[in-house]
Symmetry: C2
Subunit: 508 residues, 2 copies
């Protein structure tokens, strides 16, 4: 093995040790930290962030990287050269950001988030507008530091917004995304119109009260069946559920329980469990800290969570297996229902204002709307002050809803106050990838539903382990998608999935 | 304020940020960390330890320290000059230890702890002896690096063992400790003989089954009454309970519950709560990372835990207050008992083999025995191979017990396998300080029992806040003891406490 690569990896592994500890502190902050510790924790996180940033932009790392790039043993090894390519990608981006811009963004994030909170409570966009304008300006400066990515191999044009996408899904381009989103939006609009004429399924089975302890037991049972190694993971409760791949052998899942609708936590847990399986499947034992043990990007990560939440968890086979277990854990509360009842109750499509409460189908409309707004902003076609009007117009066009106020409209998400621009499209990219992957899994597994109906989800896990998790960042998302599904990313599989499921449920 | 001091403090505060994060990782390891994370966590802790050690022994710190020492504004300020004295104390000790010795001790600790575990299981001292000899040798080398402390102001002699004590209770000297322990041991022996002729109290009230949830609620109720700010602290469960003062506003208490004897967790929680009050009382908001916001040493820390556990928690007044609350939380399980019944049941004195299970009186015998053995070893008067014989001899002399095997004898504690030599005496120093402080509190508070009987423990907290917590490390233990109790540390208050309580209980 290349000695130069080994040295580079050793440096990265030590940085990763510090990052793991910083992630632990972030996890603790959302789960167990006493309130009174908030200010001290901010100081600790800042100290860790500075330490990590210094290591990630150090001259020492530059030298190690240059040596690895020049090394013949790296050049002749496709995995190592891909790893070095990604090391370079990250290093070049990090050193392009001046320290004072990073500090200014961090300051603006806290300030802007506070103001956003108040503005949302007051449903007053004008209160938030100056902060948003400032954040857009800072994010534009950040994008300009990164620079517009080079055009594609066939001269495909790129744009400033692509520089932001690169932070969340390396290699993703706005034009490519738009080319998939456009047909998706059109077909979704048609589908929703048709469903509107059908009969919504009965959600009575979900209207039962189940206490958190029992829901927690159900969550653990499902995670175990999915293949989560619970000796190397935990499930805790928090306000905004997340999954943190802390370190080799240490994945932290979180969820939240509402007594009223047990499927909220169930699908939330399966979602985070999907993320967790990706984290547990990355080859961290051998490549911790290297791109080879890191996820490709947020879109691909989301594909793993959505697959378990929607493609597995909202299937007939899944309910066939789970219902008796759930009924037993819930002391018979579900005994008057059939798997089909649960399947129907958990497959609705109903336009609503709030993204995080949206169903599997309409969710994508919320995402596309945000993507279009962000892209227009960075093209210079849309000013912050005009966002509410455009938002409301699109909500009417895509979901036939009249937004009553900005709290239920463009003020609903925290993302923009944090400067997370370029992040939203990864949610729908995740759905698209999941659909396309799941078709490939179904094709490779003739009796998939029989297996799932008996609680055997190993075909799904084995396929994703082999085709996605094992590679780390060796390939980019689009490249990997073609490689493992045989086709470029398209709207077809997701639409086939939604139409094939929702039309029969709605009888339309 | 001195600019030189400010710079020194800023450097220390940043180091403290890293230490806080390392403490969080240690807390997590004992509470929530998945088992599978053990190896990654060891790497993370090693990276943090190296980072912290580098900061604590850096040339930059040496320069900042020298500048502060030379600064007139520091010299003329008694608190700042005490702080700089302690900064110097720590720095000088840290730079005296060669990195290879530190690494060798760390390696030997892991190895030696594994072997100790097996040896204890097999009750086979010979299996452990080579590891123990190696650990004693390494600890001797460490002590020699530190050097024998200077003789006292009146020429009081010092010894090599003092160099080890200095790690746990700065300023403590073996000869001073022995001078207090000797009369304590004699008077304890007499007391135990007398009690042996009396009638042991009835412990029936403790023989009830109470589930962990209810015990946890009782623990929180008691912590709140003690004055713990639960907005800045948590109580979790663990195998070996501890208290970690993580950061300003962040104190983590742990306990463990056995269904069979609720007082184990109750007193364990009060013990850690006492440590927690010290941590919460240190002026961390203004002096985080400086000696002014650090505890004097383990003995003084232990005085705070023992005071709440034994002097408050095992008093008649305490049970007068707590019993109705406990009875209510336990669904009436204690309704046939009086406060006096609980008081008697929780005040026994019965020689036993295992230190951690010993009662308030006999516990000190276990500690003195270990102190005498350690001191003899470092004087060169006792070889490791002869420890079992000396141990058993002393158990016979002090507690009239025949040790059946080394698992119940000199193999029972983990400390020596870790090289924690010089640590044990701080347990009894804690009891002695607690007794002497509690007499001072009683003297300053005419109606102390009336207040405690109504659940008002504020006189105890206020006195310790003002006299101990607020000072950080401005004074050394012995100095502070004289200053706040008017007398040097002695065995009298502890013996008055034990005799005044146990003789009436035993009717002897």
């Amino acid at each position: 093995m290349s000695d130069a690569y080994k040295k580079l990896a050793a440096h990265a592994r030590k940085t990763e040790n510090f990052e793991s500890i910083a992630r632990l502190a972030a996890w603790d902050q959302e789960t167990y930290m006493p309130e009174g510790a908030a200010s001290a924790r901010a100081d600790q996180m800042a100290a860790m962030a500075e330490l990590i940033h210094n290591r990630e932009t150090s001259n020492k790392l530059a030298d190690l990287l240059a040596a690895a790039e020049a090394d013949g043993a790296v050049k002749s090894d496709s995995r190592l050269s891909a790893s070095v390519r990604e090391f370079r990608h990250d290093f070049d981006r990090k050193i392009r950001l001046p320290a004072d811009l990073v500090a200014e963004i961090a300051r603006q994030q806290s300030a802007s988030q506070q103001i956003w909170k108040k503005a949302r409570e007051a449903a007053d966009f004008e209160m938030f507008r100056p902060s948003l304008e400032k954040m857009i300006e800072l994010t534009r400066r950040k994008a300009e530091c990164y620079g517009i990515p080079d055009p594609g191999p066939a001269g495909e044009p790129t744009e400033l917004y692509d520089a932001l996408l690169e932070d969340y899904e390396p290699g993703a381009r706005a034009a490519d995304i738009q080319a998939v989103f456009d047909p998706l939006r059109k077909r979704l609009t048609d589908l929703l119109e048709d469903l509107h004429r059908g009969t919504p399924p009965d959600d009575t089975p979900l209207n039962i009260k189940i206490d958190a302890d029992k829901q927690h037991k159900l969550g653990l049972l499902v995670l175990k069946a999915m293949g989560i190694d619970l000796n190397a993971a935990r499930l805790d409760t928090t306000t905004h559920p997340f999954c943190e791949g802390l370190a080799p052998g240490d994945t932290r899942l979180t969820t939240r329980y509402r007594d009223e609708r047990f499927t909220d936590a169930l699908y939330g847990t399966m979602h985070e469990g999907g993320h967790g399986l990706y984290e547990q499947g990355l080859p961290k034992a051998t490549h911790d800290g290297e791109p080879l043990a890191q996820a490709i990007g947020l879109g691909m990560h989301e594909s793993q969570s959505r697959m378990w939440e929607n493609f597995v968890g909202r299937s007939q086979a899944f309910w066939h297996w789970l219902l008796p277990h759930a009924n037993q854990l819930f002391d018979g509360a579900l005994s008057s229902y059939s798997p089909e009842d649960l399947y129907r109750a958990t497959n609705t499509a109903k336009p609503s204002f709030i993204r995080v409460e949206a169903d599997e189908a309409t969710y994508n409309m919320h995402v596309m709307l945000r993507f279009e707004i962000e892209r227009a902003v960075f093209k210079g076609d849309l000013a912050a002050k005009d966002i509410p009007a455009v938002w409301n117009e699109k909500m009417k066009a895509y979901l036939a809803l009249d937004v009553p106020n900005d709290a239920k409209g463009c003020l609903q998400d925290v993302h923009w106050s944090f400067g997370l621009l370029g992040y939203f499209p990864t949610y729908t990219l995740g759905n698209l990838h999941a659909a396309q992957q799941f078709e490939a899994i179904r094709e490779a597994t003739p009796k998939l539903d029989d297996a799932m109906g008996e609680g055997d989800f190993s075909p799904v896990l084995a396929w994703t382990r082999r085709n996605i998790h094992a590679h780390g960042r060796q390939f980019r998302s689009n490249e990997l998608c073609e490689q493992i599904t045989g086709k470029p990313l398209s709207a077809d599989p997701l639409m086939r999935h939604l139409e094939g499921k929702l039309r029969p449920v709605y009888g339309s």
